[in-house]
């Protein structure tokens, strides 16, 4: 419970600040909020106990704590990255709203990951998605941002509806909403299978798997870029965490079925997302499709089973947090200074802003799975995980897709390093907070791969998943 309680404390303190801080000192809210959140992140790493509360509605153990810590680190980076943008005149009067909404969704995600029954799961899920629409529409006077908010709330409502319908079928056929009891009564009755498929479709929206991905690109493009980074890393990461936990702890009986479904979904997701990503010119849409493709790769990890598979997925999300936020960080920084968000605008960036270009290149190589950065290890373990079940064909399709993805990642590298531009982005110095965030991302991108005990630790923790 510590994570949630601390986070609620941070939220309340920010609320109090909102009330008591005068017009003149509003900028001070930003560092104080980041500082408070940093403290709660650090406190999250203190040793924690396993256990359950409220009659098994809420569970926690080493693995779940690790997941929350990963999300915390990601949110910290996002907060650092968005500081410069929030400091702008037009955002200054709604700074605390940004933090409040973002942290509320994070509380929702924490409850969702910790849930021990479908009621808590659903509450967490809704808490994580409804405020998100407000966040997407944060630039409310910009049409595309408002549109993104509307699109998000509609698609989110639809997917929640589908998911809830599926859960109601599962409840009808098993007579319980508790994970342990549902798992015990789960069989292959048609109603149960149907319920499961609705559940899978609902989660497919949240993780934006093809063919449930249509909202993603528009929302990502319309939302303010810091929010996009939050959506594509934190929100997606949390959804994948709970999705894999539920698959392994509630639906182990249906494993042959969901293995087949994931097999197909993984192929569709990787391939289509890659094909679309090739054609994008807007960096946000580009990263949107890239993150859809990454979700496809993650499915390969899930297929490896509750230990190897789950470890690999959590490890990959950790890598993905550093990597993708590194790429977003550069895009955010450039967008803040110049307002440019197209890949063509990056032409000749290396000549004017070498450090940013190198960070971007590193992040893109890591996304593409090029050694020696962490993305290579993450991808390699995902493929190992799928191969451990004998899915060599799937692995082949996935690695070929990784090669295709290299093409579009290299397009950005090409723009920055090879293309010449008449109007390159002028040299600039990013703010201290942005530089700190990027340094954190770069350090993480290098370190996570080589430090093998992270992987070992997560693996040991997966054995706690079913012990409460």
């Amino acid at each position: 419970m510590r994570h949630e309680v601390l986070l609620l404390a941070v939220i309340i303190l920010i609320l109090l600040m909102e009330i008591f801080v005068g017009k003149a000192n509003r900028k001070a809210i930003i560092p104080v909020s980041i500082g408070l959140f940093l403290l709660s992140t650090l406190a999250g790493f203190l040793p924690a106990e396993s256990g359950q509360l409220f009659g098994d509605m809420y569970r926690t153990n080493g693995l779940i704590v690790s997941m929350k810590n990963i999300l915390n680190i990601g949110v910290l980076i996002v907060m650092l990255l968005s500081a410069e943008w929030l400091r702008k005149e037009e955002n200054l009067d709604k700074v605390s709203e940004y933090y409040l909404i973002m942290l509320s969704t994070l509380v929702g995600m924490f409850y969702m990951i910790s849930s021990g029954d479908f009621l808590m799961f659903y509450l967490g899920l809704e808490l994580a998605s409804i405020p998100m629409a407000a966040l997407a529409a944060y630039d409310k006077f910009r049409n595309s941002s408002a549109e993104a908010g509307i699109k998000f709330i509609f698609s989110s409502a639809l997917s929640s509806g589908v998911l809830l319908y599926g859960l109601s079928m599962i409840y009808a056929s098993t007579g319980s909403i508790y994970f342990t009891e549902v798992a015990a009564h789960m069989g292959e009755q048609p109603l149960q299978v149907l319920g499961f498929i609705f559940f899978l479709a609902g989660m497919g929206f949240k993780i934006s798997l093809v063919p449930f991905h249509f909202w993603t690109a528009d929302v990502y493009e319309g939302a303010p870029i810091s929010v996009t980074s939050y959506l594509s890393v934190i929100s997606k990461g949390a959804a994948i965490f709970i999705f894999s936990i539920v698959l392994f702890s509630v639906f182990p009986m249906l494993e042959p079925l969901w293995q087949e479904l994931l097999y197909v979904l993984a192929i569709l997701t990787m391939t289509l997302a890659n094909l679309f990503a090739v054609r994008q010119n807007n960096i946000k849409r580009f990263l949107a499709f890239s993150s859809i493709a990454q979700a496809g790769f993650i499915l390969l990890g899930i297929m490896g089973g509750p230990h190897l598979g789950l470890t690999t997925v959590v490890y990959f999300i950790l890598v993905y947090v550093f990597t993708n936020l590194g790429a977003f960080g550069v895009a955010i920084s450039i967008s803040d200074k110049t307002g440019k968000e197209n890949i063509n605008d990056y032409n000749g960036l290396y000549k004017t802003n070498p450090m940013l270009s190198l960070t971007m290149m590193l992040a893109l190589f890591s996304l593409a799975g090029i050694p020696p950065v962490a993305g290579f290890f993450g991808k390699f373990f995902l493929f190992t995980s799928a191969a451990s079940k004998g899915y060599y064909i799937l692995v082949l399709i996935a690695v070929l897709n990784a090669t295709i993805s290299l093409y579009y990642y290299l397009r950005v590298v090409k723009a920055m390093f090879i293309e010449k531009s008449d109007h390159p982005i002028a040299p600039f110095r990013s703010s201290l907070s942005t530089r700190m965030a990027l340094a954190l991302c770069v350090a993480g991108t290098f370190a996570v791969g080589f430090i093998s005990w992270i992987y070992e630790y997560l693996y040991d923790m997966t054995y706690l998943l079913f012990i409460f």
């Binding site: 090029i370 493929f383 692995v395 290299l410």
Partner: protein, 499 residues
């Protein structure tokens, strides 16, 4: 700590040192010093290796070190070398050293150039010392990716297209490779022990034959793409033609050898039954490579394309010889790798130097260069003669050994393939002598060329380094051949044991 670690540590330190240099002069001096140390290390390694063998150590791999990296997946950082790896390391050290001097005058983003070049070299050195398939694969990809930037930024002609084509094709190859490696891994412990990526451990188990049949094509083609196996060779001419001099040298000289080395060290050594069964398919493909590459070279007018096609032909011969699977032919294959590595590096260095003076690579626009730049021209002739297999130079030793070995097969299929492949020697002579005639001899076609200056000291250093090695192998082949032969034994006996 094993001395082999230094082969990775020294280049990485060099890269860091380059970061602290101020301009291109500093960067090139630091690179030269770093790669000079690497060359001395390689020389020391050869003697240390021979000493170990002389005192009767018969371990398959020496200078080994093993650090457990990911205990759960049993991934190790395992290194060690045998005679073959030692000679490949020496080849790499020589070519990289010569490459640094061949790019002495790069001044556009020089620091970045040398950093990428040396990172590439790090990958190659790491590949040759690895005993663990995971680290091997890691280094393999490290060696491939700097290529994109090297060609894309410092290349010439349609460089962006070539860079992208090369990178994607090689990465596609490594995609196949990855599937094969995972296959090996999951069948490395049939009796339920811990799975392993270690080559020597996998060599001890017997992988089911049907699985071997499944994974052998992945591994062989995966490495074969880098070794310019027909029909996956098309990245090679474009890539080499667009690449800057040092990159062509390193790529044709060393990186393509990674393909050949991987083919026998991983694909054939670990999956011997499948290798024997499927050899015929790949013999046909490599025979096509050999002849097609040679014919391709005849029609080209661009010096770099000529050499790139000739590389396809010569590297095809490496794979051809490996597939013959007897000691003589495989010995020839390793010799050919080294000989071709040195020769083609020398060619690309010379082409770069000539292009730097005449600003064209079209042979019909040049002529009579012998009169204006005699040093470079003479070296070019020597390189050409080595390439067409003149006795006394390295090319002869290698090709002779290969064909003698190949002809030991009594059946009609191998004989026919060998005869077709031998015909490439004649074609090679045609295109080499044609180029020498048009380019170097005759009257000076373009009077502007009379003002050209001959090789500078760093260009001489670069070419002479390579030349000495070529002549050395040509005159004292047994020295190298013995180093290789000792280590070939276990591989060949494993391949023959299953027939």
């Amino acid at each position: 700590m094993s001395i082999l670690n230094l082969f990775v540590i020294v280049p990485v330190l060099t890269v860091f040192a380059i970061l602290f240099t101020k301009d291109f002069k500093g960067a090139r001096v630091v690179s030269a010093i770093g790669m000079g140390i690497q060359l001395l290390l390689a020389a020391y390694l050869i003697f240390a290796y021979l000493d170990l063998r002389a005192i009767g150590i018969t371990d398959e791999m020496v200078f080994t070190q093993d650090i457990l990296w990911f205990p759960m997946l049993n991934i190790h950082y395992a290194i060690g070398v045998d005679g073959i790896a030692v000679s490949m390391i020496a080849l790499t050290a020589i070519v990289v050293f010569a490459g640094v001097f061949a790019s002495w005058e790069v001044d556009n983003l020089a620091r970045e150039f040398f950093i990428s070049l040396i990172l590439l070299a790090t990958g190659v050195f790491g590949f040759f010392i690895s005993l663990d398939l995971f680290t091997m694969f890691l280094f393999y990809e490290i060696a491939v990716i700097p290529m994109y930037l090297l060609i894309g930024i410092w290349g010439s002609g349609p460089k962006e297209y070539s860079a992208m084509k090369l990178t994607l094709m090689l990465m596609g190859g490594s995609a196949l490779l990855l599937v094969g490696l995972l296959g090996l891994y999951f069948y490395s412990a049939p009796d339920g022990g811990p799975l392993t990526f270690n080559i020597l451990e996998i060599a001890k188990v017997h992988i089911p034959v049907e699985m071997q049949r499944l994974f052998f094509p992945f591994l062989f083609v995966g490495f074969g793409v880098l070794g310019a196996l027909f029909p996956f060779h098309t990245w090679s001419p474009d890539g080499h033609a667009s690449a800057p001099t040092a990159v062509s040298m390193l790529h044709a000289g060393v990186l393509m050898k990674l393909g050949g080395y991987g083919c026998f060290r991983v694909a054939m050594f670990l999956l011997p039954e499948a290798a024997n069964e499927m050899a015929w398919i790949f013999i046909i493909l490599t025979t096509i490579s050999v002849v097609y590459g040679a014919f391709g070279a005849i029609w080209q007018k661009d010096l770099k394309y000529i050499n790139a096609y000739s590389s396809v032909s010569h590297c095809g011969l490496v794979l051809f010889a490996l597939l013959m699977m007897n000691e003589t032919a495989m010995d020839g294959a390793i010799l050919q790798m080294i000989s071709h590595g040195l020769m083609t590096a020398l060619f690309f260095a010379l082409i770069g130097m000539i292009y730097g003076r005449t600003h064209t690579r079209m042979i019909d626009q040049m002529g009579g260069l012998m009169k204006v730049i005699p040093f470079l021209s003479v070296v070019y002739v020597i390189a050409g003669l080595a390439s067409l297999g003149l006795p006394g130079l390295s090319g002869f030793v290698a090709e002779m050994t290969i064909f003698v070995g190949a002809f030991q097969h009594p059946d009609i299929f191998h004989r026919a393939a060998t005869i077709i492949a031998i015909s490439s020697i004649v074609i090679t002579a045609v295109y080499i002598l044609r180029v020498v005639g048009i380019l170097l001899l005759g009257p000076v076609k373009n009077t502007d060329y009379n003002l050209l200056t001959d090789a500078r000291w760093y260009e001489r250093l670069s070419t002479i380094t390579l030349l000495v090695a070529i002549a050395g192998i040509g005159m004292f082949p047994f020295w190298l051949s013995d180093t290789i032969m000792n280590s070939l034994g276990p591989i060949v006996s494993r391949l023959l044991a299953v027939v």
